[in-house]
């Protein structure tokens, strides 16, 4: 697949207010860094990448860098293999990118048609395309309504419409499903898939991990301004060591205590149907076919028999927790 945009060791730190610097110095703490500390990312044509991370991880800043809004302080950005250095290079980069920022509170005296027409003009497109764009995002019936009368979901659709103008090669979508109803979410997923099939690269940032899992092909996990890991789900699972779990159930006495004797395996008893059901996590390696066969042989002693054994794929939430070190008891009152 063709590499459309590539970031190498990108860095952009937001200015820190003097009061925060002074407070950090007073407490003899390191001065906090906000933004992107180091990020490398390749965006290939037709790929759908999920950008995930906790609040304040730097996802939106990374999108702004990729969209050519924020300049790099360090590192390089390449568009179709060419370095993006000058403002003119950034203009060319922006021509290939459609950005949908998070929660745009469209307001003012205009209407959706005016907004899209204006953006069509800026992109050098025919303003007549505006109605087609609004139809594509399901806003044609509201095209002449005042912006202030639109619901959050409608505003999200308008932002999506703005990103679609000029059929960009790359779509950067920041929390695109916020406020969308389930029907709109389904239509959105379908549209994203169709666009990816036509070769558009799509980067989606979202906190709705279960939704993201349904259509992204790979993930880039961000934490504290860095991309911790990225790749296909399988490779990320492998990198993080979260793909070594088995779900085993069977009849007869539970073999939990016997398996627990192996210090490399963590056993968790689950309340499922059948005599017993265990979730086994290996800490040294993945459950290869040989290991699984040996396990069955060990369990099938006496009246204890394995009824089913299957590998448990980790979900995105678990990947995120493992990658970022966020525990289940997240401190919501702490600083983001």
């Amino acid at each position: 697949m063709e590499v459309l945009v590539e970031l190498e060791n990108a860095r952009y730190l937001h200015p820190i207010p003097r009061a925060i610097i002074a407070a950090a110095k007073r407490r003899k703490q390191p001065i906090p860094k906000r933004g992107i500390i180091e990020a490398s990312l390749r965006i290939e044509s037709g790929s759908i990448i999920g950008l995930v991370g906790p609040n304040g991880a730097g996802k939106s800043t990374l999108m702004s860098i990729m969209a050519g809004i924020l300049p790099l302080q360090r590192g390089i950005i390449k568009s179709n293999g060419k370095h993006v250095l000058s403002e003119q290079d950034r203009v060319h980069l922006r021509k290939r990118i459609g950005l949908m920022p998070e929660r745009v509170a469209w307001s003012g005296p205009g209407n959706p048609l005016d907004v899209i027409r204006r953006l069509c003009i800026i992109r050098g497109q025919d303003a007549k395309n505006a109605e087609e764009i609004l139809q594509r995002v399901g806003l044609s019936s509201r095209s002449r309504d005042r912006l202030s009368s639109l619901s959050q979901g409608m505003r999200q659709r308008l932002s999506l419409g703005a990103a679609l103008i000029g059929n960009p090669d790359i779509l950067l979508l920041d929390e695109p499903m916020n406020g969308l109803d389930p029907v709109a979410q389904s239509a959105f997923r379908k549209m994203i898939q169709e666009m990816a099939n036509r070769g558009t690269a799509i980067v989606v940032s979202s906190h709705q991990l279960n939704e993201l899992e349904r259509f992204v092909e790979g993930v880039a996990i961000m934490n504290q301004g860095k991309i911790v890991t990225q790749g296909s789900f399988t490779s990320v699972e492998h990198d993080l060591g979260v793909g070594q779990r088995l779900m085993v159930s069977g009849i007869g006495p539970s073999p939990a205590s016997m398996i627990s004797e192996n210090p490399l395996i963590t056993v968790k008893e689950l309340d499922e149907e059948g005599d017993w059901c265990l979730r086994l996590t290996r800490h040294d390696q993945t459950w290869s076919q040989d290991l699984r066969a040996a396990l069955i042989e060990r369990i099938n002693v006496g009246s204890t028999k394995v009824a089913s054994l299957e590998r448990v794929p980790p979900d995105l939430e678990e990947i995120l927790r493992t990658a970022t070190g966020i525990s289940e008891g997240i401190d919501l009152q702490g600083e983001e």
Binding site: A67, G68, I69, V91, L99, R118, I121, G124, A163
Partner: protein, 277 residues
């Protein structure tokens, strides 16, 4: 060439929407009342003005009506432009705009010209209609030079206010700060400038107790070079009969016109190029 076409199309689109916006609809009656209205009054042969002011031709009418331009049109620019950057920045719309493939300088100019021309065009049209009022009332045709100077310097004055307002709007973190800066600037130059001049004169040892004193008038004319309103009036005053012309050197006035045009716009564009959503 492509960028220029995009700029022109964008400007026309913005002007269309701004010129029919509720703010401008409110402003139109005020502009009509203040510009052609004042010209109508000053050009009436039966009008008697207070003090020693006497109407000595079309240029005097234009000069006197400039006070009403300062009270209405400049405030119009403040009201139209105060949120042109700060509001889209707060709502997130600016992020989408900055992500578009257009040169930042051109985009900055389109914002500035959108605010400026949406007020300057109606004001210029009202001024041109006012020239006809002068001709009708006084029976004299204003000279081409006087007319061009009046319309042109008014347009420039509005450009100066527009650029100051755009600087404020690009700096403001909220709508309140932006409108406060705009109104405060307008009040400083329109209502408070004489007071500021008197205070500075006193501090520098110039007798400010008699505002008709030639030394104070000379000082005041020089101080006016630092106010857009002052420069505006000095330019118009230069078109009056010899006895009423300012004593300040023409070169300083020309320099002030160039300075008020170039410095705020350059600073605004520099800010806009580095603007972060």
């Amino acid at each position: 060439m492509v960028d220029t076409m995009v700029f022109i199309r964008l400007l026309i689109h913005d002007l269309k929407s701004k010129m029919i916006s509720p703010r401008m609809v409110i402003l139109y009656p005020l502009l009509i009342l203040f510009i052609p209205g004042s010209v109508w009054g000053f050009s009436d042969p039966n009008t008697s003005l207070p003090g020693t002011i006497s109407i000595e031709g079309a240029s005097t009418v234009m000069f006197l009506s400039s006070l009403f331009v300062l009270l209405s049109a400049t405030l119009g620019v403040v009201l139209v432009g105060f949120d042109s950057i700060s509001r889209p920045r707060l709502t997130g719309e600016l992020t989408i705009e900055l992500a578009q493939p257009i040169n930042r300088t051109l985009l900055g100019f389109s914002h500035l010209f959108g605010v400026w021309l949406s007020v300057a065009i109606p004001v210029a049209l009202l001024q041109i209609s006012s020239l006809m009022i002068i001709q009708h009332q006084m029976g004299i045709t204003p000279s081409v030079e006087d007319s061009i100077t009046w319309v042109g310097i008014t347009a420039l004055l509005l450009l100066w206010y527009a650029s100051l307002q755009m600087i404020a709007s690009s700096m403001a973190q909220d709508l309140g700060a932006s409108v406060t800066f705009g109104v405060a600037t307008w009040m400083l130059f329109t209502l408070m400038w004489l007071l500021v001049t008197v205070v500075i004169a006193t501090v520098l040892g110039v007798d400010a107790t008699n505002t008709a004193d030639p030394t104070f008038i000379r000082f005041q004319e020089h101080a006016d070079l630092f106010s857009p309103n002052g420069v505006y009036q000095l330019v118009l005053q230069n078109r009056l009969p010899q006895s009423a012309q300012p004593t300040v050197w023409d070169g300083w006035i020309d320099l002030a016109v160039v300075g008020w045009t170039v410095i705020p716009i350059t600073y605004y564009l520099r800010r806009f190029r580095k603007l972060k959503p």
